[in-house]
């Protein structure tokens, strides 16, 4: 069964460093998403991506964040200068047409020290 894959599963980084989280969405899906979950809190939407551009972003998704689809398979989230409060689980998701089921990757646990 097709699945969304994320790498790495866990990343530790120093405050101020840049990180790139990687995702491979399901191949025939058109909508891609990043969500974030701070430990013990609910999952929050960060950004959606369709047709090679951002279709919607939350207020969390400020200038420190960017997304890219560098080739036909990968979808990345970059945090330019990490802060302690960026420590969270980051989930990538994809859906076929934006109106149907969203499938989630296993997550990347980011720890900023």
């Amino acid at each position: 069964e097709p699945e969304v894959t994320q790498t790495p599963s866990h990343q530790v980084t120093q405050m101020g460093q840049e990180v790139i989280l990687r995702c491979v969405p399901i191949s025939n899906h058109l909508y891609f998403y990043w969500y974030r979950q701070i430990l013990g809190q609910k999952v929050e939407f960060l950004v959606s991506f369709y047709n090679n551009e951002i279709s919607e972003k939350s207020e969390i998704f400020d200038d420190q964040f960017s997304v890219e689809r560098p080739d036909g398979s990968n979808f990345t989230l970059k945090i330019r200068s990490t802060k302690l409060e960026d420590s969270a689980m980051y989930f990538c998701a994809s859906s076929r047409d934006g109106n149907t089921e969203a499938f989630f990757g296993q997550g990347t646990r980011l720890t900023v020290v």
Binding site: S48, E56, N99, A102
Partner: protein, 109 residues
């Protein structure tokens, strides 16, 4: 935007017991999904159920769209069912999932 509320917030069961988790939402939904977050933090898709009833083994879900709620049933619970159960939904032209706070389930042997 749509509001999603889950109840109960916490639930403790003995192995073998049955349970019902509830998700209320404030608007008509295009998408409603149930997830299980395991102790390692991974989100497992359980059901995509904007309306109707589905079953998968010991789990089943029902969404009554006209009354704006969904129920997740767990029968004959096992310790591996422990974790947090989330429902998430979106409505209208809004294609981002809005999440409830989850129900934290502990199944004791």
């Amino acid at each position: 935007g749509i509001q999603v509320e889950q109840s109960p917030p916490d639930l403790i069961l003995q192995e073998g017991a049955n349970s019902t988790l509830r998700c209320n939402f404030s608007d008509s939904v295009n998408n409603l999904q149930w997830f299980h977050q395991n102790p390692w933090g991974q989100l497992i898709n359980l059901f995509y159920i904007p309306s109707g009833t589905k079953q998968n083994g010991r789990l089943s879900a029902t969404t009554v769209a006209t009354e704006r709620y969904s129920l997740l049933y767990i029968s004959s619970s096992q310790t591996t069912d422990s974790g947090v159960y989330f429902c998430a939904a979106y409505a209208g032209n809004n294609r981002k999932l809005i999440w409830g706070l989850g129900t934290s389930l502990a199944v004791n042997p």
